[in-house]
């Protein structure tokens, strides 16, 4: 790995259609896949969010003391070697997860509000309305800069039948990330599909450069054609329908951008791992594979924003790998049965182990004068604190990484009534996105 202060001119690299470039990228090339108008020579900050469902056994999560030198609790133990890279943030709320008059449905609300700070509309279908999630706000900054504005990854398939929580549409539990209040961004749960999206399919790679270029051109012409089609169609439809066509047009523009960015810089990063064949059978392997893909995407600057849904809200997954055959969600309604609480604690700990793996991969990836972890900000948490009672206050939240100059290594307790969206605004500041409000925010949470 060559580490120099000089910035190598891009011509130094073999330019040609479809040449492969080996990873990890030379950091002197930074930003290699970025737009040439990105004059920020400092290594770019990444931001990511990881979600776990159904709450956490808080008595085994919250450290007893604040500041540095706190003792790692049972659930947080797997992260002990990352003490200096980690912040435990206590007492942040997501009040918009509460019923506020809508009755049951805490799981749908928790998932929909965690990154948005918005109380989603209670509907089983008509007029779904969430909010704009923080990761998507961050993603808009990188439009045209990275090949993908953001990636949404998930480790649990969505429900295929029935409603998902007490009269709430499944759209609320399936997606954590929302581009607009009406457009959820569903996560990709198949590692093979994620890989192919990031690094290309076998067909893409087997085409000769001329044919590939021609196919790109056709795709662009087609997108032009359908955009015109849509504009004439829109005039004949009512307002409710027009919103759907807006989603269509937005997506067309996004894809056009991606094609343009691929044409400008047609080199494809070699991933360094084999293409996954599908979804791994064991849960830890599955999550770790998704973490690997996220790290790769960050490392090759294909994107700087990611969300990872380790478990969907209301998840009924069983964990035979750690000897738990009971579905997760009913276990969390333990009603103080100590055996059940023990099982939930073990599940919570397993999830934290997965996060520790992600941090380990990021930390062992050198970048610039530090590591990829130094240039990232990662939030880990759940929209429910006590799964038994469905509370949305004093949520379990972790912040890892030093992106944007954050100095971790302590346990902080927020003042009473601080919404988690305040934290998000501060994080957005750190990556250079300045927004006045987000969802139910009341200010910034100073880190």
């Amino acid at each position: 790995m060559i580490i120099t202060r000089k910035r190598l001119p891009r011509r130094t690299f073999l330019r040609g259609m479809g040449t492969m470039m080996a990873l990890p990228m030379l950091d002197a090339m930074v930003p290699a896949f970025g737009s040439s108008r990105d004059v920020d020579l400092k290594t770019p900050s990444r931001i990511a969010f990881a979600y776990v469902p159904n709450g956490i056994v808080m008595k085994d999560w919250t450290p007893k003391t604040t500041g540095s030198n706190y003792e790692f609790t049972r659930i947080l133990k797997p992260l002990e070697s990352f003490r200096d890279d980690l912040m435990v943030l206590s007492n942040l709320d997501s009040n918009t997860g509460n019923a506020l008059g809508d009755g049951p449905g805490d799981h749908a609300r928790a998932g929909a509000s965690f990154l948005t700070g918005v109380h989603c509309r209670k509907t089983a279908g008509a007029d779904i309305r969430g909010g704009v999630s923080v990761d998507q706000v961050a993603a808009t900054k990188f439009t045209g800069v990275t090949r993908f504005n953001s990636i949404e990854l998930g480790c649990e398939d969505s429900r295929t039948v029935g409603d998902c929580d007490s009269g709430y549409s499944c759209a609320y539990t399936n997606s954590l990330s929302w581009r607009t209040p009406q457009t959820p961004m569903p996560p990709e749960v198949n590692p093979r599909a994620v890989f192919e999206r990031l690094f290309g399919t076998a067909e893409d790679l087997s085409l000769d450069p001329e044919t590939r270029a021609r196919r790109f051109r056709y795709r662009k012409s087609i997108l032009d054609l359908v955009t015109r089609d849509t504009q004439s169609l829109v005039k004949t439809l009512g307002p409710g329908d027009r919103r759907k066509l807006d989603e269509y047009l937005f997506s067309v523009r996004e894809v056009e951008q991606r094609i343009q960015s691929a044409e400008k810089d047609p080199r494809r990063p070699a991933p360094g791992i084999d293409k996954p064949s599908g979804i791994p059978f064991e849960f830890p392997q599955y999550v770790k594979l998704m973490c690997d893909l996220q790290v790769l995407a960050f490392q090759s600057d294909l994107t700087r924003v990611a969300t990872l849904v380790i478990g969907r809200e209301g998840s009924n997954r069983v964990y035979p790998e750690i000897g738990i055959d009971d579905p997760h969600h009913p276990l969390t309604h333990h009603r103080n049965n100590p055996e059940w609480i023990e099982k939930v604690t073990r599940i919570n700990t397993l999830h934290v182990e997965m996060f520790a793996y992600l941090l380990k991969r990021l930390k062992s990836t050198p970048e610039g004068e530090g590591t990829l972890l130094d240039h990232s900000l990662l939030v880990y948490g759940s929209g429910i604190a006590d799964g038994n009672n469905h509370t949305h206050e004093a949520l379990p939240v972790l912040l890892a990484g030093r992106g944007g100059g954050v100095k971790p290594g302590k346990h902080m307790v927020a003042t009473q009534g601080t919404p988690i969206t305040n934290l998000y605004l501060s994080l957005l500041d750190r990556i250079g996105v300045h927004q006045d409000t987000l969802g139910d925010s009341t200010g910034r949470f100073e880190l």
């Binding site: 969505s158 056709y218 054609l225 089609d229 439809l237 329908d241 009913p330 009603r335």
Partner: protein, 760 residues
């Protein structure tokens, strides 16, 4: 008010202990409430909404094709059946269905996939499937517990398919071609057994048989030791068409050809190898050696070695020798100029494009739309010199158009009318996606082109034709799979220790029973009450053995009539329904009761409060029965308000365990399957439960009507739809509850044929 109406209708209010109103008063109250609700303005604030029954037309938001619809439409449009939409993000569902306009969103990820899929589909249609490198896939059958039999069974499945030593799986074959299926064997066969067979079944049909003779293969074991099958990997080479297929590999006649000491049928005629000589350890005295040798010989005479031959897993390699070139079906659908040999004239492009777009957009196309596409053909042709390339790109463009991806229903020209009749093409689209989850076929499209669907007799004839068409299987798979929630069967994982009988073959068979049953009700236009209780079903050997129904052999599904003692008949006794309404390790009368209320009665219970205490699972079956545990529900008045409705229904089904097998005991406790409902009616056992449900056929008809309407319309129901529902139920009941009357009722209703306007 809706809540009041529900509770009064269900007899929940007034509570049982209070004085009860007369039936005619109840009827008056409920019909008044129903009428009032229908009069109330819609939730969706639309001041143009009228309150009269004739315009009880809702408005569904622009519906994009969901994954299943996309796959089917592409198959019907250009003859490409590659199921590329299976890779699209999952469709979100609302109101229990995944085809709800408001809920189906379009993210950039999906758009990328559309673009890639459109390219692949168009190129496959024109040029044939791209060369696919053969790959090797390992297909396991999931966890199985295998208990080898020591003595031959007399009455066992001779085909071997229902035995636990067979392997069953489904696989989607990417293209027509030759595939190699390698069976990895395991287990032992007793020494001296004759060669046995290995059979390959695809979709329930025997395709190939291979002879396996372990005795003749090189063996490193001593004579007299069992024939070890591990490492023997016979290969089948078969031609398989593209698509998802059910593969089964089994050992037929497992208990034949065994050494005579088994006392089995057709014993082996081979000489029995001698029992291996005793090899003494070095440090024994001659006397001890002789003693041990005699023991060893004696053991040899007494032991019946296990016959544990099994298929452990399959490996699938391919495709090999797949067809190159476009499929005939694709060519016929595309080249309407009739020049299948490729020699196209100047006007061919326009003809082809115009016809394709007409079918793809499900309406006549304007000349400017055609010109847009033909210019694309021309410019690509100029660049590449190939007309076919140009055509492929034009097809790709058609598949990306919003007119293809969405089912468009336009805003009416005049905005003063409160609702309008749908156009012929919009109606045809609704009809075909309702009954087939796919685009209108040529006949339906022609009828729309000619305006014939405006005639009720033509419309009815089309509906009947469409119900009889094999494409109506989509109604079974998509509506049925979601209404009955049997789609969940794909992912259930019953506890292997408690239910060792549950294997892949059983799972596939259970699912198929319900599908074939539903399809028969459509095909034979039977009464929908058959869903509740029928004296027949469709079984294969596996399922018949599971249900303990005798005299059913072979893997094909055939109609079987039930005796009353069989305990089977109707959805409530089908293993599929019973399994998805249970937990992995036990039954749940609550889940089952909820299932009945939601899907048969149309009176779903509200969700439970979050801090409800849970059952002490360890006790169930041991120190207290499920029923006693659930007594808690009745003791607490708040719990009882919902549970007094749910639990008794579930108790009625307690004789069926968590995978649907009949049982008379739950652990140590004899099952008490009686129940008493809030309105005072009591019953015993599943027959009694079914009788109670049949007493109110209109309640079931209404429930099914509502669900079918949501599915057909792609939106939730609004108060203005109530009158429509009532009308349909009346007509269904007047027609002996025949299935087609339900479909006709929906299709003829203003809700299906009209669309409410909105301010632009």
């Amino acid at each position: 008010m809706k809540l009041i109406l529900e509770k009064v209708k269900n007899g929940q209010m007034p509570p049982a202990k209070m004085p009860q109103p007369k039936p005619e008063d109840v009827a008056a109250l409920t019909s008044w409430l129903t009428h009032q609700l229908a009069q109330m303005p819609d939730k969706i604030t639309d001041s143009a909404a009228s309150n009269s029954a004739s315009s009880s037309a809702g408005r569904v938001t622009l519906r994009r094709l969901n994954r299943v619809e996309y796959n089917n439409t592409v198959r019907d449009l250009v003859g490409v059946d590659r199921h590329l939409a299976d890779e699209f993000p999952q469709d979100d569902s609302g109101y229990g269905f995944d085809n709800i306009g408001d809920v189906l969103s379009l993210s950039p990820v999906l758009m990328e996939k559309y673009l890639a899929a459109a390219e692949k589909i168009s190129r496959t249609a024109i040029f044939g499937v791209e060369p696919i490198k053969p790959t090797l896939v390992r297909l396991r059958s999931g966890e199985r517990t295998y208990t080898p039999q020591l003595t031959p069974l007399t009455d066992y499945d001779l085909s071997g398919l229902s035995l636990t030593n067979a392997v069953h799986t489904t696989y989607r074959f990417p293209v027509d071609g030759e595939y190699v299926i390698r069976a990895n064997l395991g287990g032992d066969r007793p020494a001296g057994s004759e060669a046995f067979q290995l059979s390959l079944w695809i979709d329930g049909e025997l395709k190939q048989t291979i002879r396996v003779d372990p005795g003749n293969l090189a063996s490193f074991g001593q004579l007299g030791e069992p024939q070890q099958l591990w490492g023997i990997r016979p290969e089948f080479r078969v031609t398989v068409p593209e698509g998802e297929h059910w593969i089964g590999v089994a050992i037929p006649r497992l208990y034949e050809g065994l050494p005579p000491r088994y006392n089995g049928p057709n014993p082996s005629k081979l000489p029995i190898p001698p029992w291996p000589k005793y090899k003494p350890p070095p440090d024994l005295t001659p006397k001890e050696i002789e003693e041990r040798r005699l023991e060893h010989e004696k053991k040899g005479l007494e032991t019946i070695p296990a016959n544990s031959a099994r298929v452990s897993f399959l490996e699938l390699g391919g495709p090999y020798a797949s067809n190159k070139g476009p499929a005939t079906e694709s060519q016929q659908k595309i080249y309407v100029c009739k020049h299948l040999n490729g020699h196209h004239s100047a006007s061919c492009a326009r003809k082809i494009v115009e016809r394709l777009a007409h079918r793809a957009y499900r309406r006549p196309v304007s000349s400017s739309e055609v010109v847009q596409l033909t210019s694309l053909v021309t410019s690509v042709q100029k660049e590449t010199g190939s007309f076919e390339e140009g055509l492929a790109v034009a097809i790709q463009a058609i598949l990306m158009s919003p007119n293809f991806l969405f089912r468009v229903e336009k805003l009416p020209a005049s905005t003063t009318a409160s609702s309008r009749q749908l156009s012929q093409h919009e109606l045809a689209s609704r009809l075909s996606y309702f009954l087939w989850s796919s685009m209108p076929d040529d006949a339906l499209l022609l009828a729309a082109d000619k305006g014939k669907l405006a005639r009720p007799d033509v419309l009815e004839a089309q509906v009947r034709r469409m119900l009889l068409d094999s494409k109506s299987q989509s109604l079974v798979d998509n509506f049925g799979g979601q209404w009955l929630q049997v789609r969940k069967l794909e992912s259930v994982k019953p506890d292997g220790k408690r239910f060792p009988e549950f294997d892949e073959y059983l799972r596939l068979s259970m699912a198929r029973e319900t599908q074939v049953f539903f399809a028969s009700i459509i095909r034979e236009d039977r009464s929908i009450l058959d869903f509740i209780d029928a004296d027949y079903s469709y079984l294969n050997e596996r399922l018949a053995r599971f249900y303990k129904i005798p005299n059913v052999t072979g893997p094909e599904f055939r109609k079987v009539s039930f005796d009353p003692e069989s305990h089977r008949g109707g959805l409530l006794t089908q293993a599929s329904v019973l399994t998805i309404s249970s937990y992995a390790n036990r039954t749940s009368p609550v889940l089952r009761g909820k299932w009945v209320l939601e899907n048969l009665v149309g009176a779903p219970p509200p969700p439970p409060p979050p801090d409800v205490p849970n059952l002490d699972e360890a006790k169930i079956g041991k120190t207290s029965s499920m029923r006693e545990q659930l007594e808690q529900h009745r003791k607490n008045a708040i719990c009882a308000s919902c549970h007094s409705r749910m639990d008794p229904l579930g108790f009625g089904l307690e004789n069926f365990d968590a995978i649907g097998a009949w049982r008379s005991k739950d652990g140590e406790f004899t099952i008490d399957s009686s129940g008493t409902l809030p309105d005072g009616n009591s019953f015993s056992g599943p027959q009694g439960l079914k009788a109670i449900l049949k007493q109110k056929p209109d309640a079931f008809a209404e429930c099914l009507t509502r669900k079918l309407m949501i599915y057909a319309l792609g939106r939730g129901l609004e108060p203005a739809d109530e009158d429509v529902v009532k009308e349909i139920v009346k007509s269904v009941s007047a027609n002996n509850y025949r299935f087609s009357s339900l479909i006709m009722g929906i299709v003829e209703s203003p809700a299906f044929q009209r669309r409410r306007g909105e301010k632009p």
